[in-house]
């Protein structure tokens, strides 16, 4: 990202708060997204990602905080400023009894597109999401992946300043998922500011320039992948597959010098350790006091490790 783009803040959200009864779903979330930047909000289900994105696009009244798009305030009463936002909800939001083209025409006109410009954009979007050949078919005849792609296509039809993507690949087959991620990567390169929520670490790593790790309604850390991994230091993640007294073995492993934390989950022990290669034999010895070690997996530092480091839980476990 160039310095010029760095300087142009498209989205500025500050101290967003939302409470549902006694549950504080979002607790002071702040983030900024610059022109051409893809920002990932990474966290498990229930972390507050959808609530945050709903407040940003004015779908949900917030209890506190403020949102600005290119300097213009956004809230539930905003109308004109919302034209700069493209929203792709987590669940499909398309008309099943209309064709892809009719869906695009309707939402395109809703955002003020018309005439040749609308026609051109529909053609471009259909090509981008790979639905040109099926443009005149009703969407209830589409596969789930095709419907997902159209769901995204509608959001970016009017070339918004900010594209909000709320877990767009949930429930999508690997092939369609790959196509979706490629499309989003292209959009980022074209200069669109993108807020992408996901609980898939690999998606955040692949797409996002910066990532905010969100858990229990709070952003626990934020930065580039390199910056986040640096927070964990030189720590590695070791996964031991064991049988026997798994919690007991985890407790024994936690006592080994150099181990930051060790968590038991089903038949695995997830260990955050300073230098895996040097400590590995002692980890196995400690684990085999109360259990049999069946497998060993050493993982280089990644966002999963960062999440584990920050929350004490593995991201994939927290997402369940």
């Amino acid at each position: 990202m160039s310095e010029e783009a760095q300087a142009r803040v498209v989205l500025a959200a500050r101290d967003l708060r939302k409470r549902y009864g006694t549950i504080e779903a979002v607790r002071g979330v702040s983030l900024e997204i610059h022109e051409g930047e893809t920002y990932g909000l990474l966290g498990p289900n229930g972390a507050g990602k959808t609530t945050t994105i709903s407040m940003i696009c004015g779908l949900l009244a917030r209890d506190g905080g403020e949102v600005h798009l290119d300097g213009a305030p956004i809230d539930v009463g905003a109308v004109a400023a919302k034209a700069g936002i493209g929203y792709v909800p987590q669940e499909l939001a398309i008309y099943p009894d209309l064709t892809a083209k009719e869906n695009l025409v309707f939402f395109g006109r809703l955002y003020g597109l018309a005439g040749a410009r609308l026609k051109t954009r529909i053609g471009e979007v259909l090509a981008l999401i790979g639905l040109t050949e099926r443009a005149n078919d009703r969407t209830d005849t589409y596969s789930g992946g095709m419907q997902r792609r159209l769901n995204i296509g509608i959001g970016l039809l009017h070339q918004p300043r900010l594209l909000l993507l709320d877990e767009p690949t949930v429930g999508v087959d690997p092939q369609s998922r790959n196509a979706i991620l490629e499309s989003i990567a292209k959009l980022g390169k074209q200069g669109m500011a993108i807020l992408y929520t996901t609980h898939y670490m690999e998606e955040a790593e692949r797409l996002c320039d910066r990532v905010g790790i969100i858990d229990a309604g709070e952003i626990r850390a934020e930065g580039t992948q390199r910056e986040l991994v640096a927070m964990v230091g030189e720590q590695d993640t070791v996964r031991l597959t064991v049988t026997g007294d798994v919690p007991g073995a985890a407790a024994d492993v936690a006592k080994v010098r150099g181990v930051v934390r060790a968590d038991a989950k089903d038949n695995t022990i997830e260990i955050l350790v300073a230098d895996a290669r040097q400590v590995l034999p002692r980890l196995i010895d400690a684990a085999e006091v109360r259990a049999d070690v069946k497998g060993v997996d050493v993982v280089e530092p990644d966002l999963e490790a960062v999440f584990l480091h920050l929350t004490g839980r593995a991201l994939r476990d927290a997402a369940e």
């Binding site: 539930v76 004109a80 034209a83 398309i94 809703l110």
Partner: protein, 396 residues
């Protein structure tokens, strides 16, 4: 406004694809109007086939066959054929002839009929009824009974005159008196063209149209629930659009659906059933005000509900209740006074009344009270309904 019309156009396209709206808005009301009209058309154009056996041959028997039964024949109510014997008459009502003709009933005038009446003695006319012609037989019995009543009063008068003058009338004089007694004292004049009431075909066409109008227009507000379920409502609200614009688009879609439904029904029933809806400008006023009324009421009902199923059921229940109260299945004029008064709380009754007021020389001005009531109902219920319905589209 442009955005509201955009939503309207999209909704109408969806409704045309979802053919259920065509069933509710056109096919069902048209089908029922045709069925009811055909059923009632049979009931109002009664015709009977009678035979008469005059075993008496006297002047009073001739009075009955020529003046009473002849009157039925002349007015087209009945076909009258004569038979020589009672056995022939019985066969005529029991067995169809070679042409398939069979009498509904037979009048058998016994020997000595005229003499008995002239002498003030009791006598009778036998009615032989066909097994499958209950109504024809009942009417034959009524005709004979009315003649007998006339004869009885004449006999009483003759006896009284005889007592006073000593010479009661007899023969031709007596027959003339009996014939005169058959003439009604008060004649009813058919003023059909001047009556402000709907023909059966028009009544059922308009009644079914307004009944199903309430089903047709409810789809607009109900689609809000569908939009919410499929996420498209949230998608619209995330865009540059006010919640009120979405409601306006839905309401205008209902309006177009309602007006289109009534226009199609008016044209179809006029062509197919010969319905006479009245002067087009007045009908247009009634139609527009009825559609507004229906949208207002269905919006109000929908605004109290939380799901599409609940709203659909509640609107259907309200539509049927108002329809029955409003006399869409049978004219309220045939109902007790209390029910007639109660019917006036329904738009259905005012819709039918407005159309009826323009019949028989009525003008648009005669329909204005009904138009006013319909508009007031629609605007009041609609204002409350739309205010409440904003919660269905408001961000949370």
């Amino acid at each position: 406004m442009r955005t509201a019309l955009l939503i309207t156009a999209k909704d109408l396209r969806q409704r045309l694809r979802d053919r259920s709206i065509i069933v509710f808005a056109v096919i069902a009301p048209l089908g029922l109007a045709v069925i009811f009209s055909m059923l009632l058309r049979g009931a109002t154009s009664f015709h009977a086939d009678y035979v008469v056996v005059d075993l008496d041959g006297g002047s009073l028997a001739t009075t009955f066959t020529e003046q009473v039964l002849g009157g039925l024949k002349d007015s087209g109510v009945a076909t009258i054929e004569t038979r020589a014997t009672e056995a022939d008459a019985r066969q005529a009502v029991e067995v169809a002839n070679a042409e398939g003709w069979k009498a509904d009933a037979a009048f058998v005038i016994p020997i000595g009929f005229s003499e008995a009446i002239a002498a003030g003695q009791p006598t009778s006319i036998a009615i032989l009824g066909a097994k499958d012609a209950g109504l024809g037989t009942e009417i034959a019995r009524s005709v004979a009974a009315r003649f007998a009543d006339g004869v009885a009063s004449v006999q009483l008068a003759v006896l009284t005159v005889g007592d006073l003058r000593g010479t009661p009338p007899a023969g031709a004089d007596m027959a003339a008196i009996v014939a005169a007694a058959q003439q009604p004292a008060i004649a009813l004049v058919d003023t059909g063209a001047d009556l402000r009431q709907l023909s059966w075909a028009t009544f059922f066409s308009s009644a079914m149209a307004v009944l199903f109008l309430f089903f047709a227009v409810q789809s607009g507000m109900l689609s809000l629930f569908e939009e919410r379920r499929q996420g498209t409502l949230a998608r619209m609200l995330a865009g540059p659009i006010r919640p009120g614009t979405i409601l306006a688009g839905k309401a205008f879609g209902s309006f177009v659906t309602g007006v289109a439904s009534l226009v199609v029904l008016i044209v179809a029933t006029t062509v197919l059933l010969g319905a006479d809806w009245g002067p087009p400008p007045g009908v247009a006023l009634i139609v527009v005000s009825a559609v507004i009324s229906a949208i207002g009421i269905t919006t109000l009902v929908t605004s109290f509900m939380k799901t599409a199923d609940g709203a659909g059921a509640a609107n259907s229940a309200v539509a049927m209740t108002l329809g029955i109260l409003g006399g869409t299945f049978s004219p309220t004029a045939q109902a007790p006074e209390a029910m007639q008064a109660l019917s006036l709380v329904t738009p259905h009754a005012w819709f039918l009344r407005g159309l009826a007021e323009m019949q028989g020389g009525g003008t648009i001005a005669d329909a204005l009270p009904a138009v006013g009531v319909l508009l007031a109902t629609g605007l009041v219920t609609g204002a409350i309904g739309f205010a409440r319905a904003r919660r269905l589209v408001a961000p949370r």
